[in-house]
Protein backbone atom coordinates (compact mmCIF):
# COMPACT_ATOMS: atom_id res chain seq x y z
CA UNK A 1 0.00 0.00 0.00
CA UNK A 2 3.04 2.24 0.08
CA UNK A 3 2.98 2.80 -3.64
CA UNK A 4 0.66 5.73 -4.23
CA UNK A 5 1.27 6.16 -7.95
CA UNK A 6 -2.29 5.93 -9.38
CA UNK A 7 -1.10 4.34 -12.62
CA UNK A 8 0.61 1.41 -10.93
CA UNK A 9 -2.32 1.06 -8.54
CA UNK A 10 -4.64 0.88 -11.56
CA UNK A 11 -2.44 -1.74 -13.25
CA UNK A 12 -2.33 -3.75 -10.05
CA UNK A 13 -6.11 -3.59 -9.81
CA UNK A 14 -6.57 -4.80 -13.38
CA UNK A 15 -4.13 -7.63 -12.71
CA UNK A 16 -6.16 -8.85 -9.75
CA UNK A 17 -8.19 -11.99 -10.39
CA UNK A 18 -11.78 -11.22 -11.29
CA UNK A 19 -12.99 -13.11 -8.21
CA UNK A 20 -11.13 -10.87 -5.77
CA UNK A 21 -13.34 -8.86 -3.46
CA UNK A 22 -11.40 -5.63 -3.95
CA UNK A 23 -11.75 -5.80 -7.70
CA UNK A 24 -15.46 -6.62 -7.45
CA UNK A 25 -16.09 -3.60 -5.23
CA UNK A 26 -13.94 -1.25 -7.31
CA UNK A 27 -15.51 -2.38 -10.58
CA UNK A 28 -19.03 -2.03 -9.17
CA UNK A 29 -18.17 1.46 -7.93
CA UNK A 30 -16.57 2.56 -11.21
CA UNK A 31 -19.40 1.26 -13.38
CA UNK A 32 -22.00 2.99 -11.18
CA UNK A 33 -20.11 6.29 -11.18
CA UNK A 34 -19.57 6.33 -14.93
CA UNK A 35 -23.18 5.35 -15.66
CA UNK A 36 -24.50 7.90 -13.17
CA UNK A 37 -22.41 10.62 -14.80
CA UNK A 38 -23.59 9.65 -18.29
CA UNK A 39 -27.26 9.58 -17.27
CA UNK A 40 -27.27 12.80 -15.27
CA UNK A 41 -25.10 14.52 -17.87
CA UNK A 42 -27.50 13.64 -20.68
CA UNK A 43 -30.52 14.70 -18.62
CA UNK A 44 -29.09 18.03 -17.53
CA UNK A 45 -27.58 18.99 -20.88
CA UNK A 46 -30.65 18.04 -22.91
CA UNK A 47 -33.30 19.37 -20.52
CA UNK A 48 -33.54 22.89 -22.02
CA UNK A 49 -34.07 21.43 -25.52
CA UNK A 50 -36.71 19.03 -24.23
CA UNK A 51 -38.53 21.78 -22.32
CA UNK A 52 -38.51 23.94 -25.46
CA UNK A 53 -39.91 21.00 -27.46
CA UNK A 54 -42.71 20.48 -24.99
CA UNK A 55 -43.58 24.18 -24.86
CA UNK A 56 -43.56 24.41 -28.66
CA UNK A 57 -45.79 21.38 -28.92
CA UNK A 58 -48.25 22.80 -26.37
CA UNK A 59 -48.37 26.06 -28.31
CA UNK A 60 -48.82 24.24 -31.61
CA UNK A 61 -51.66 22.17 -30.21
CA UNK A 62 -53.31 25.26 -28.76
CA UNK A 63 -53.10 26.94 -32.15
CA UNK A 64 -54.34 23.82 -33.93
CA UNK A 65 -57.25 23.62 -31.48
CA UNK A 66 -58.26 27.21 -32.07
CA UNK A 67 -57.74 26.96 -35.82
CA UNK A 68 -59.81 23.75 -35.98
CA UNK A 69 -62.92 25.36 -34.48
CA UNK A 70 -65.21 26.57 -37.28
CA UNK A 71 -65.18 30.31 -37.66
CA UNK A 72 -62.36 30.70 -35.20
CA UNK A 73 -59.75 31.97 -37.63
CA UNK A 74 -61.93 34.97 -38.52
CA UNK A 75 -62.66 35.58 -34.87
CA UNK A 76 -58.96 35.42 -34.09
CA UNK A 77 -58.20 37.88 -36.86
CA UNK A 78 -60.77 40.37 -35.54
CA UNK A 79 -59.56 39.89 -31.97
CA UNK A 80 -56.06 40.81 -32.96
CA UNK A 81 -54.96 37.20 -33.41
CA UNK A 82 -53.95 36.61 -29.82
CA UNK A 83 -55.40 34.93 -26.79
CA UNK A 84 -55.27 36.53 -23.39
CA UNK A 85 -53.87 34.38 -20.64
CA UNK A 86 -55.39 34.60 -17.18
CA UNK A 87 -54.53 32.72 -14.02
CA UNK A 88 -57.70 31.92 -12.13
CA UNK A 89 -58.27 30.94 -8.54
CA UNK A 90 -60.24 27.71 -8.86
CA UNK A 91 -61.79 27.88 -5.39
CA UNK A 92 -63.26 31.34 -5.79
CA UNK A 93 -63.76 31.22 -9.52
CA UNK A 94 -62.10 34.59 -10.01
CA UNK A 95 -58.92 35.86 -11.55
CA UNK A 96 -56.10 35.30 -9.08
CA UNK A 97 -54.76 38.57 -7.74
CA UNK A 98 -51.29 37.65 -6.60
CA UNK A 99 -50.39 34.96 -9.15
CA UNK A 100 -49.54 35.79 -12.77
CA UNK A 101 -48.73 33.37 -15.62
CA UNK A 102 -45.05 34.08 -14.99
CA UNK A 103 -45.19 33.20 -11.29
CA UNK A 104 -47.65 30.30 -11.66
CA UNK A 105 -44.98 27.60 -11.81
CA UNK A 106 -43.36 28.95 -8.65
CA UNK A 107 -46.71 29.19 -6.85
CA UNK A 108 -47.50 25.57 -7.66
CA UNK A 109 -44.22 24.46 -6.06
CA UNK A 110 -45.81 25.42 -2.72
CA UNK A 111 -47.93 22.57 -1.40
CA UNK A 112 -50.15 25.16 0.32
CA UNK A 113 -51.52 26.03 -3.10
CA UNK A 114 -52.87 22.52 -3.65
CA UNK A 115 -56.15 21.08 -2.37
CA UNK A 116 -56.37 17.42 -1.44
CA UNK A 117 -59.36 15.65 -2.99
CA UNK A 118 -61.50 13.09 -1.20
CA UNK A 119 -62.01 9.80 -3.08
CA UNK A 120 -65.60 10.84 -3.82
CA UNK A 121 -64.48 14.12 -5.38
CA UNK A 122 -61.47 12.70 -7.14
CA UNK A 123 -63.11 11.51 -10.35
CA UNK A 124 -60.05 12.06 -12.52
CA UNK A 125 -57.64 10.20 -10.22
CA UNK A 126 -55.53 13.26 -9.48
CA UNK A 127 -55.17 12.94 -5.69
CA UNK A 128 -54.82 16.68 -5.34
CA UNK A 129 -55.75 19.69 -7.40
CA UNK A 130 -53.86 22.96 -7.82
CA UNK A 131 -55.73 26.03 -6.56
CA UNK A 132 -54.59 28.06 -9.54
CA UNK A 133 -54.89 27.31 -13.22
CA UNK A 134 -53.91 29.16 -16.34
CA UNK A 135 -56.79 29.59 -18.79
CA UNK A 136 -56.96 31.31 -22.15
CA UNK A 137 -59.72 33.73 -23.06
CA UNK A 138 -60.66 34.79 -26.56
CA UNK A 139 -62.73 37.90 -27.02
CA UNK A 140 -64.82 38.68 -30.07
CA UNK A 141 -66.46 41.92 -31.12
CA UNK A 142 -67.33 44.41 -28.40
CA UNK A 143 -64.94 42.69 -26.02
CA UNK A 144 -67.50 39.93 -25.40
CA UNK A 145 -66.00 36.64 -24.36
CA UNK A 146 -66.40 34.19 -27.24
CA UNK A 147 -64.29 31.25 -26.16
CA UNK A 148 -62.41 29.96 -23.16
CA UNK A 149 -59.67 27.35 -23.32
CA UNK A 150 -59.31 25.26 -20.17
CA UNK A 151 -56.37 22.92 -19.55
CA UNK A 152 -57.50 19.65 -17.95
CA UNK A 153 -55.66 16.55 -16.83
CA UNK A 154 -56.25 13.23 -15.14
CA UNK A 155 -55.17 9.62 -14.87
CA UNK A 156 -55.48 7.61 -18.08
CA UNK A 157 -54.82 3.91 -18.53
CA UNK A 158 -51.02 4.06 -18.84
CA UNK A 159 -50.32 7.50 -17.42
CA UNK A 160 -51.64 11.01 -17.15
CA UNK A 161 -53.72 12.49 -19.96
CA UNK A 162 -53.46 16.25 -20.49
CA UNK A 163 -55.87 18.10 -22.71
CA UNK A 164 -57.29 21.53 -23.44
CA UNK A 165 -61.06 21.97 -23.66
CA UNK A 166 -62.49 24.89 -25.57
CA UNK A 167 -65.94 26.09 -24.48
CA UNK A 168 -68.18 28.51 -26.34
CA UNK A 169 -69.57 31.69 -24.78
CA UNK A 170 -72.52 29.84 -23.17
CA UNK A 171 -69.91 27.80 -21.19
CA UNK A 172 -71.92 24.69 -21.99
CA UNK A 173 -71.11 23.89 -25.61
CA UNK A 174 -67.77 22.30 -26.33
CA UNK A 175 -66.02 24.04 -29.18
CA UNK A 176 -63.15 21.59 -29.40
CA UNK A 177 -60.72 19.39 -27.53
CA UNK A 178 -56.97 18.99 -27.99
CA UNK A 179 -54.91 16.31 -26.30
CA UNK A 180 -51.59 17.82 -25.22
CA UNK A 181 -50.06 14.80 -23.53
CA UNK A 182 -50.87 11.12 -23.20
CA UNK A 183 -49.10 7.78 -22.98
CA UNK A 184 -52.01 5.47 -23.78
CA UNK A 185 -51.50 2.22 -25.70
CA UNK A 186 -50.51 3.11 -29.27
CA UNK A 187 -53.25 2.14 -31.71
CA UNK A 188 -55.90 1.74 -28.99
CA UNK A 189 -56.17 4.33 -26.23
CA UNK A 190 -53.60 6.35 -28.14
CA UNK A 191 -56.35 7.06 -30.66
CA UNK A 192 -57.68 9.82 -28.35
CA UNK A 193 -55.24 11.98 -30.30
CA UNK A 194 -56.76 11.20 -33.69
CA UNK A 195 -58.44 14.13 -35.39
CA UNK A 196 -61.37 11.91 -36.43
CA UNK A 197 -62.23 11.20 -32.79
CA UNK A 198 -61.59 14.74 -31.61
CA UNK A 199 -63.81 16.07 -34.42
CA UNK A 200 -66.89 14.84 -32.55
CA UNK A 201 -66.38 17.18 -29.63
CA UNK A 202 -67.46 20.47 -31.25
CA UNK A 203 -71.14 21.01 -30.48
CA UNK A 204 -71.34 18.46 -27.68
CA UNK A 205 -73.16 19.75 -24.61
CA UNK A 206 -71.57 19.62 -21.16
CA UNK A 207 -74.35 19.94 -18.57
CA UNK A 208 -78.14 19.65 -18.55
CA UNK A 209 -80.57 22.37 -17.45
CA UNK A 210 -80.08 21.56 -13.76
CA UNK A 211 -76.34 22.13 -14.06
CA UNK A 212 -75.28 18.50 -13.59
CA UNK A 213 -72.38 17.57 -15.87
CA UNK A 214 -73.73 14.92 -18.22
CA UNK A 215 -70.86 14.71 -20.70
CA UNK A 216 -69.66 11.15 -21.36
CA UNK A 217 -67.67 9.10 -23.79
CA UNK A 218 -70.27 6.50 -24.78
CA UNK A 219 -69.75 2.75 -24.88
CA UNK A 220 -70.09 2.39 -28.61
CA UNK A 221 -71.75 5.09 -30.69
CA UNK A 222 -72.89 8.31 -29.04
CA UNK A 223 -76.53 8.23 -27.92
CA UNK A 224 -77.27 11.80 -26.91
CA UNK A 225 -76.10 15.37 -27.32
CA UNK A 226 -73.94 14.91 -24.21
CA UNK A 227 -71.98 11.99 -25.62
CA UNK A 228 -69.21 11.24 -28.08
CA UNK A 229 -68.42 7.79 -29.55
CA UNK A 230 -66.35 5.41 -27.44
CA UNK A 231 -63.00 4.11 -28.66
CA UNK A 232 -63.09 0.42 -29.58
CA UNK A 233 -60.68 -1.63 -27.50
CA UNK A 234 -59.94 1.25 -25.13
CA UNK A 235 -62.69 1.20 -22.52
CA UNK A 236 -60.37 2.35 -19.73
CA UNK A 237 -59.10 5.31 -21.74
CA UNK A 238 -62.66 6.23 -22.78
CA UNK A 239 -63.79 6.11 -19.15
CA UNK A 240 -60.80 8.19 -18.11
CA UNK A 241 -61.78 10.87 -20.63
CA UNK A 242 -65.34 10.91 -19.23
CA UNK A 243 -64.07 11.27 -15.68
CA UNK A 244 -61.52 13.95 -16.55
CA UNK A 245 -64.18 16.05 -18.28
CA UNK A 246 -66.71 15.50 -15.49
CA UNK A 247 -64.21 16.45 -12.82
CA UNK A 248 -62.82 19.57 -14.45
CA UNK A 249 -66.12 20.94 -15.74
CA UNK A 250 -67.83 20.07 -12.43
CA UNK A 251 -67.95 21.90 -9.08
CA UNK A 252 -64.48 20.78 -7.94
CA UNK A 253 -62.82 21.84 -11.18
CA UNK A 254 -63.68 24.90 -13.23
CA UNK A 255 -67.33 24.96 -12.05
CA UNK A 256 -67.04 28.17 -9.97
CA UNK A 257 -65.13 29.87 -12.79
CA UNK A 258 -67.70 28.84 -15.39
CA UNK A 259 -70.54 30.22 -13.22
CA UNK A 260 -68.62 33.46 -12.85
CA UNK A 261 -68.26 33.71 -16.63
CA UNK A 262 -71.97 33.05 -17.07
CA UNK A 263 -72.70 35.83 -14.56
CA UNK A 264 -70.65 38.07 -16.82
CA UNK A 265 -67.78 38.66 -14.42
CA UNK A 266 -65.12 38.17 -17.07
Amino acid sequence: MADLNPLTAWRRLLALPNESRTKTLVMAFLVSVICALAVSGATVILRPIQAANRAAEQQARLEALVAGIPGMSELLASAGGTLTTVVIDLKRGRAAEEVTPATLAAALQDSGNWTALTPAQDLAGLGQRPDFAQVYLLRGEGDALSLVLLPVSGAGYNGPIDAIVALRADMNTIAGLAITGQSETPGLGGRVEEPAWLAQFPGTQVADASGTVRFAVARGPAGSEYEVDGITGATRTSNAMTQIMRFWLGPDGYGPFLSAVRRGEF
Binding site: M27, E57, G187, L188
Partner: protein
Protein backbone atom coordinates in the same frame (compact mmCIF):
# COMPACT_ATOMS: atom_id res chain seq x y z
CA UNK B 1 -19.32 -24.32 -33.22
CA UNK B 2 -15.82 -25.72 -33.37
CA UNK B 3 -14.25 -23.27 -35.79
CA UNK B 4 -14.58 -19.54 -35.26
CA UNK B 5 -17.47 -18.43 -37.42
CA UNK B 6 -16.61 -15.88 -40.11
CA UNK B 7 -17.58 -12.24 -39.63
CA UNK B 8 -20.07 -12.53 -42.47
CA UNK B 9 -21.92 -15.40 -40.84
CA UNK B 10 -21.90 -13.60 -37.48
CA UNK B 11 -23.69 -10.73 -39.18
CA UNK B 12 -26.09 -12.68 -41.38
CA UNK B 13 -26.91 -15.72 -39.24
CA UNK B 14 -29.25 -13.83 -36.88
CA UNK B 15 -31.28 -12.47 -39.80
CA UNK B 16 -33.24 -15.66 -40.41
CA UNK B 17 -31.37 -18.80 -39.39
CA UNK B 18 -30.74 -17.61 -35.84
CA UNK B 19 -33.38 -14.88 -35.75
CA UNK B 20 -33.59 -13.56 -32.17
CA UNK B 21 -37.37 -13.25 -32.21
CA UNK B 22 -38.49 -16.34 -34.08
CA UNK B 23 -35.76 -18.80 -33.09
CA UNK B 24 -34.31 -17.54 -29.83
CA UNK B 25 -37.77 -16.21 -28.80
CA UNK B 26 -36.20 -13.15 -27.17
CA UNK B 27 -37.56 -9.62 -26.90
CA UNK B 28 -41.18 -10.60 -27.45
CA UNK B 29 -42.89 -8.01 -25.23
CA UNK B 30 -41.75 -5.10 -27.32
CA UNK B 31 -42.24 -7.06 -30.52
CA UNK B 32 -45.92 -7.37 -29.62
CA UNK B 33 -46.33 -3.87 -28.23
CA UNK B 34 -44.90 -1.66 -30.96
CA UNK B 35 -45.94 -3.55 -34.07
CA UNK B 36 -49.32 -1.86 -34.50
CA UNK B 37 -47.79 0.18 -37.32
CA UNK B 38 -44.67 -0.08 -39.47
CA UNK B 39 -43.42 3.38 -38.52
CA UNK B 40 -43.27 2.66 -34.78
CA UNK B 41 -41.81 -0.78 -35.47
CA UNK B 42 -39.00 0.80 -37.51
CA UNK B 43 -38.20 3.45 -34.89
CA UNK B 44 -38.21 0.88 -32.13
CA UNK B 45 -35.94 -1.37 -34.20
CA UNK B 46 -33.49 1.48 -34.76
CA UNK B 47 -33.44 2.37 -31.05
CA UNK B 48 -32.98 -1.25 -30.02
CA UNK B 49 -30.23 -1.87 -32.56
CA UNK B 50 -28.38 1.23 -31.34
CA UNK B 51 -28.61 0.10 -27.71
CA UNK B 52 -27.60 -3.42 -28.65
CA UNK B 53 -24.50 -2.37 -30.59
CA UNK B 54 -23.34 0.18 -28.01
CA UNK B 55 -23.84 -2.14 -25.05
CA UNK B 56 -22.07 -4.96 -26.91
CA UNK B 57 -19.11 -2.66 -27.57
CA UNK B 58 -18.88 -1.41 -23.98
CA UNK B 59 -19.28 -4.79 -22.33
CA UNK B 60 -16.92 -6.45 -24.75
CA UNK B 61 -14.28 -3.81 -23.99
CA UNK B 62 -14.35 -4.49 -20.26
CA UNK B 63 -15.12 -8.20 -20.62
CA UNK B 64 -11.86 -9.38 -19.05
CA UNK B 65 -12.43 -7.28 -15.94
CA UNK B 66 -16.08 -7.96 -15.10
CA UNK B 67 -16.12 -9.87 -11.81
CA UNK B 68 -18.17 -13.04 -12.23
CA UNK B 69 -20.25 -12.53 -9.09
CA UNK B 70 -21.69 -9.19 -10.25
CA UNK B 71 -21.53 -9.61 -14.01
CA UNK B 72 -25.30 -9.52 -14.59
CA UNK B 73 -25.83 -6.36 -12.59
CA UNK B 74 -22.88 -4.66 -14.28
CA UNK B 75 -24.34 -5.52 -17.68
CA UNK B 76 -27.85 -4.39 -16.83
CA UNK B 77 -26.58 -1.11 -15.33
CA UNK B 78 -24.67 -0.36 -18.52
CA UNK B 79 -27.66 -1.27 -20.70
CA UNK B 80 -30.07 0.78 -18.57
CA UNK B 81 -27.81 3.84 -18.66
CA UNK B 82 -27.51 3.60 -22.43
CA UNK B 83 -31.26 3.33 -22.77
CA UNK B 84 -31.84 6.42 -20.62
CA UNK B 85 -29.28 8.41 -22.58
CA UNK B 86 -30.84 7.36 -25.90
CA UNK B 87 -34.32 8.11 -24.59
CA UNK B 88 -33.19 11.60 -23.58
CA UNK B 89 -31.58 12.19 -26.97
CA UNK B 90 -34.78 11.06 -28.72
CA UNK B 91 -36.84 13.42 -26.57
CA UNK B 92 -34.50 16.28 -27.38
CA UNK B 93 -33.94 15.81 -31.10
CA UNK B 94 -36.70 13.47 -32.35
CA UNK B 95 -39.52 14.67 -30.16
CA UNK B 96 -42.39 13.50 -32.39
CA UNK B 97 -41.10 9.95 -32.58
CA UNK B 98 -40.33 9.76 -28.87
CA UNK B 99 -43.93 10.77 -28.17
CA UNK B 100 -45.19 7.91 -30.31
CA UNK B 101 -42.93 5.31 -28.71
CA UNK B 102 -43.79 6.58 -25.22
CA UNK B 103 -42.76 4.02 -22.62
CA UNK B 104 -41.43 1.39 -24.96
CA UNK B 105 -38.03 3.01 -25.38
CA UNK B 106 -37.36 2.81 -21.66
CA UNK B 107 -38.52 -0.79 -21.75
CA UNK B 108 -35.59 -1.68 -24.02
CA UNK B 109 -33.73 -2.12 -20.73
CA UNK B 110 -35.81 -5.14 -19.90
CA UNK B 111 -35.66 -6.52 -23.44
CA UNK B 112 -34.22 -10.01 -22.98
CA UNK B 113 -32.52 -9.69 -26.35
CA UNK B 114 -30.02 -7.08 -25.13
CA UNK B 115 -28.99 -8.94 -21.99
CA UNK B 116 -29.12 -12.22 -23.86
CA UNK B 117 -26.57 -11.10 -26.45
CA UNK B 118 -24.23 -9.34 -24.01
CA UNK B 119 -24.30 -12.33 -21.69
CA UNK B 120 -23.84 -15.02 -24.32
CA UNK B 121 -21.67 -13.31 -26.94
CA UNK B 122 -20.13 -9.95 -26.01
CA UNK B 123 -18.69 -11.34 -22.78
CA UNK B 124 -16.48 -13.79 -24.71
CA UNK B 125 -15.61 -11.90 -27.90
CA UNK B 126 -13.56 -8.85 -28.86
CA UNK B 127 -15.46 -5.59 -29.50
CA UNK B 128 -15.45 -5.81 -33.30
CA UNK B 129 -17.08 -9.23 -33.43
CA UNK B 130 -19.40 -8.39 -30.56
CA UNK B 131 -20.67 -5.29 -32.36
CA UNK B 132 -21.12 -7.26 -35.57
CA UNK B 133 -23.13 -9.89 -33.71
CA UNK B 134 -25.19 -7.16 -32.02
CA UNK B 135 -25.85 -5.47 -35.37
CA UNK B 136 -26.91 -8.78 -36.92
CA UNK B 137 -29.27 -9.49 -34.04
CA UNK B 138 -30.62 -5.95 -34.14
CA UNK B 139 -31.35 -6.35 -37.84
CA UNK B 140 -32.92 -9.78 -37.28
CA UNK B 141 -35.17 -8.26 -34.61
CA UNK B 142 -36.01 -5.39 -36.98
CA UNK B 143 -36.89 -7.84 -39.74
CA UNK B 144 -39.30 -9.77 -37.52
CA UNK B 145 -40.85 -6.53 -36.24
CA UNK B 146 -41.31 -5.06 -39.68
CA UNK B 147 -42.92 -8.26 -40.99
CA UNK B 148 -45.40 -8.41 -38.09
CA UNK B 149 -45.92 -4.64 -38.17
CA UNK B 150 -46.64 -4.72 -41.91
CA UNK B 151 -49.28 -7.43 -41.53
CA UNK B 152 -50.89 -5.70 -38.58
CA UNK B 153 -50.96 -2.28 -40.15
CA UNK B 154 -52.12 -3.60 -43.52
CA UNK B 155 -55.06 -5.55 -42.13
CA UNK B 156 -55.74 -3.41 -39.07
CA UNK B 157 -55.76 -0.05 -40.78
CA UNK B 158 -55.55 -0.85 -44.50
CA UNK B 159 -52.32 1.11 -44.85
CA UNK B 160 -48.58 0.52 -45.01
CA UNK B 161 -46.19 3.11 -43.60
CA UNK B 162 -49.19 5.50 -43.47
CA UNK B 163 -49.76 4.99 -47.20
CA UNK B 164 -53.33 3.86 -47.81
CA UNK B 165 -53.27 0.48 -49.60
CA UNK B 166 -56.89 -0.55 -49.09
CA UNK B 167 -59.56 2.16 -49.05
CA UNK B 168 -61.36 1.74 -45.75
CA UNK B 169 -65.13 1.85 -45.41
CA UNK B 170 -64.84 5.07 -43.37
CA UNK B 171 -63.30 6.75 -46.39
CA UNK B 172 -65.81 5.35 -48.84
CA UNK B 173 -63.81 2.26 -49.84
CA UNK B 174 -64.56 -1.44 -49.44
CA UNK B 175 -62.14 -2.52 -46.70
CA UNK B 176 -63.42 -3.02 -43.16
CA UNK B 177 -60.37 -2.78 -40.87
CA UNK B 178 -59.86 -5.77 -38.59
CA UNK B 179 -59.64 -4.09 -35.19
CA UNK B 180 -58.30 -7.35 -33.78
CA UNK B 181 -55.08 -6.73 -35.70
CA UNK B 182 -54.42 -3.64 -33.58
CA UNK B 183 -54.92 -5.54 -30.32
CA UNK B 184 -52.10 -7.34 -28.54
CA UNK B 185 -53.47 -10.91 -29.09
CA UNK B 186 -53.07 -10.61 -32.86
CA UNK B 187 -49.36 -10.02 -32.26
CA UNK B 188 -49.23 -13.43 -30.56
CA UNK B 189 -51.14 -15.13 -33.37
CA UNK B 190 -48.97 -13.62 -36.08
CA UNK B 191 -45.75 -14.33 -34.24
CA UNK B 192 -46.86 -17.93 -33.69
CA UNK B 193 -47.74 -18.20 -37.36
CA UNK B 194 -44.39 -16.74 -38.35
CA UNK B 195 -42.46 -19.18 -36.15
CA UNK B 196 -44.47 -22.07 -37.55
CA UNK B 197 -43.94 -20.95 -41.15
CA UNK B 198 -40.20 -20.49 -40.63
CA UNK B 199 -39.79 -23.87 -38.98
CA UNK B 200 -41.72 -25.57 -41.77
CA UNK B 201 -39.36 -24.05 -44.32
CA UNK B 202 -36.24 -24.64 -42.20
CA UNK B 203 -36.96 -27.91 -40.34
CA UNK B 204 -33.60 -27.81 -38.53
CA UNK B 205 -35.00 -24.95 -36.44
CA UNK B 206 -37.69 -27.13 -34.91
CA UNK B 207 -36.91 -28.25 -31.39
CA UNK B 208 -37.28 -31.80 -30.14
CA UNK B 209 -40.34 -32.04 -27.96
CA UNK B 210 -39.30 -32.09 -24.31
CA UNK B 211 -42.10 -34.40 -23.26
CA UNK B 212 -43.28 -37.19 -25.50
CA UNK B 213 -46.92 -38.14 -25.18
CA UNK B 214 -47.36 -41.84 -24.31
CA UNK B 215 -48.13 -44.01 -27.31
CA UNK B 216 -51.13 -45.48 -25.64
CA UNK B 217 -53.00 -43.11 -23.28
CA UNK B 218 -54.28 -46.02 -21.17
CA UNK B 219 -50.69 -46.72 -20.10
CA UNK B 220 -50.79 -43.72 -17.77
CA UNK B 221 -53.69 -45.11 -15.81
Amino acid sequence: MAARPSSWSILTDPLIRQNPVTLQILGLCSALAVTTSVATALTMSAALTAVLVLSAALISMIRNHIPGSIRLIVQIVIVASLVIVIDQILQAYLFEISQRLSVFVSLITTNCLVLGRTESFSRHNPPGRAMLDALGNGLGYSLALVVIGSIRELFGAGSWLDWQVFQTVDNGGWFTPLSLMLLAPSGFFLLGGLVWALRSVLPEQAEDPELLPPDRPEDIA
